[in-house]
Amino acid sequence: MLPVTDHVVQIENIRKVFRVGFWGRRVTAVDQLSLDVRRGEVFGFLGPNGAGKTTTLKMLMGLIYPTSGQAKIFGHLVGDPAAKAKLGFLPESPYFYDYLTSREFLNFYGHLFGLWGVRLNKRVDELLELVGMSHAKDLQLRKFSKGMLQRVGIAQALINDPELVVLDEPMSGLDPIGRKEVRDLIFRLKESGKTVMFSSHILHDAELLCDRVAMIMKGRLVACGQVSELIQQGATQEVEMVIDRLSPEGLEHLRVLATKVVLNGERVMVVLSNQRQVDESLEVIRAAHAKLVSLTPHKASLEDLFIREANGVQSPVEARV
């Protein structure tokens, strides 16, 4: 019997230490990471380059073995064929077999799932249609652009109609149109009831797409939850104020008061971090008979959280043993 679980992916205290170089120096790529991905959600796995995203995904796919900890997919330990049967994976910037056409390429992956004949042909046609590559069915992959490879790569990940789709940096290296297409595709997968987990260092994509995100830095989890929650959490609601005709005394006053002041000829732009600063600034403006041009609340984004966390995390990752 299959274990009943709503957690499609469960990662428990997973850790990966690489030995690099001649002396076998230890590098901790992933450190005591725990998180889970729930059925039907789009889960963003975020972090700067070198944070350990790829390493984590490779452990999930059974490509590398964790130093300690474990991970389960659909309740099966990673690497179990039963888990792999319901899984689709797209590696980061893949190249694939140069001399195969996209149709042959997808046929091959179909065979690995025991798909043959008419059923497979139909599936391959559907997938090439889905990723917008029907026109290049009989073209060898070495003639493909990066964006086209990415698309057949995604088709490859979907060949078995998987319940969980894992994509490593699916949007990196693509132009804005390509990125939008991948985003649309992920939306469509979600609509058809699939669970999608993807890694990215581009936060904007995640903000638009994800139900939940996890953010890792230097191999450690620093935040995990709904995008809206994370953005609110401890975010300073900044306000940007643009002022004209400000007297020198007024300017001096604001310099003391504001978080940031930028001069642009006659125009002054100030950034304020809290309500008190806003109130006092307004009084200064009124007293100086200056003109308030605009007052804009600065919308918090994942980017802010990211930068805040990046400043916070300074734990040493590399240890000589």
């Binding site: 796919m61 590696p91 077999y97 001399y99 195969l100 690995l112 799932f113 025991g114 790569g153």
Partner: protein, 253 residues
């Protein structure tokens, strides 16, 4: 079925790879021209034709086995194609065996082409063709199978360049194992153990060499042939098992 798909896919990739054709054309040109030129310069040319012909097929086959073979695993890791295969319900040993069979198929086709070339030259030079020649060609192919498995084993744990060097070394030493044994007997205790160990571990590739029999018209009993084939297949099986064990534990990074 999965193993077969991987094998056929590998074969198809190989067939479309220009490197292979270049090697093959080069081999045919070299074998052909040297055999044709020989007539003008040497007297006892029937013997030499067979000797050089079989020898060249052997060397070029081994070169093809090494050049295409070492790339098998390393290229897949480099290009990350293995990521997509191993994340599907395919066991790592299935991948390895599939790759091996695919390359073996490629080598079979190559051997047939080279053998065809040799037969043409022999025919043109009116050299009588005996059944022994086909047995010799068969065993040359058996040797390719062993060398390919050796290359595969090395490439599961070292880089492409190192695997090539190790495989080439294994090929050379594999043809000298008899000498290795006599050499070992002249050594002191410790070295003798090492050399004797090597003698038993390394493949005895001379067993697959029937060149002398072809040239001097010496028959080989059927049971001997069978034993040699069984030896070759067993050796391949052990190599593949060792390669699978290493491959299973390896991180793809």
């Amino acid at each position: 079925m999965k193993v077969l798909s991987i094998a056929l896919n590998t074969f198809r990739e190989n067939l479309r790879d220009k490197l292979l054709y270049n090697l093959l054309v080069f081999a045919l040109l070299l074998i052909g021209s040297s055999l044709l030129l020989m007539r003008l310069t040497l007297g006892e040319f029937h013997r030499l034709l067979l000797d050089v012909g079989l020898g060249s097929i052997n060397i070029f086959g081994v070169l093809i086995a090494i050049f295409v073979g070492i790339g098998l695993v390393n290229k897949e890791i480099e290009k990350k194609t293995i990521y997509t295969i191993v994340s599907k319900p395919v066991a790592r040993y299935q991948f390895l065996v599939g790759k091996y069979l695919g390359l073996t198929l490629t080598l079979l086709v190559n051997t047939l082409i080279m053998a065809g070339g040799l037969l043409l030259v022999l025919f043109a030079q009116a050299v009588p063709i005996e059944s022994m020649l086909f047995k010799a060609l068969g065993l040359i192919f058996m040797e390719f199978m062993v060398i390919t498995a050796v290359a595969l084993l090395y490439s599961t744990f070292t880089s492409a360049t190192l695997s090539a060097i190790f495989t080439l070394a294994t090929y050379v030493i594999g043809h000298l194992t008899a000498d290795l044994k006599t050499f070992g007997e002249k050594m002191d205790e410790g070295m003798r153990a090492v050399v004797t160990g090597l003698y038993y571990i390394l493949p005895n590739l001379e067993r697959f060499n029937l060149k002398g029999n072809v040239i001097h018209h010496i028959e080989v009993p059927g049971t001997d042939l069978l034993l040699i084939v069984v030896y070759g297949l067993t050796y391949v099986a052990f190599l593949l098992m060792a390669a699978s064990l290493i491959f299973q534990r390896r991180d793809f990074r």
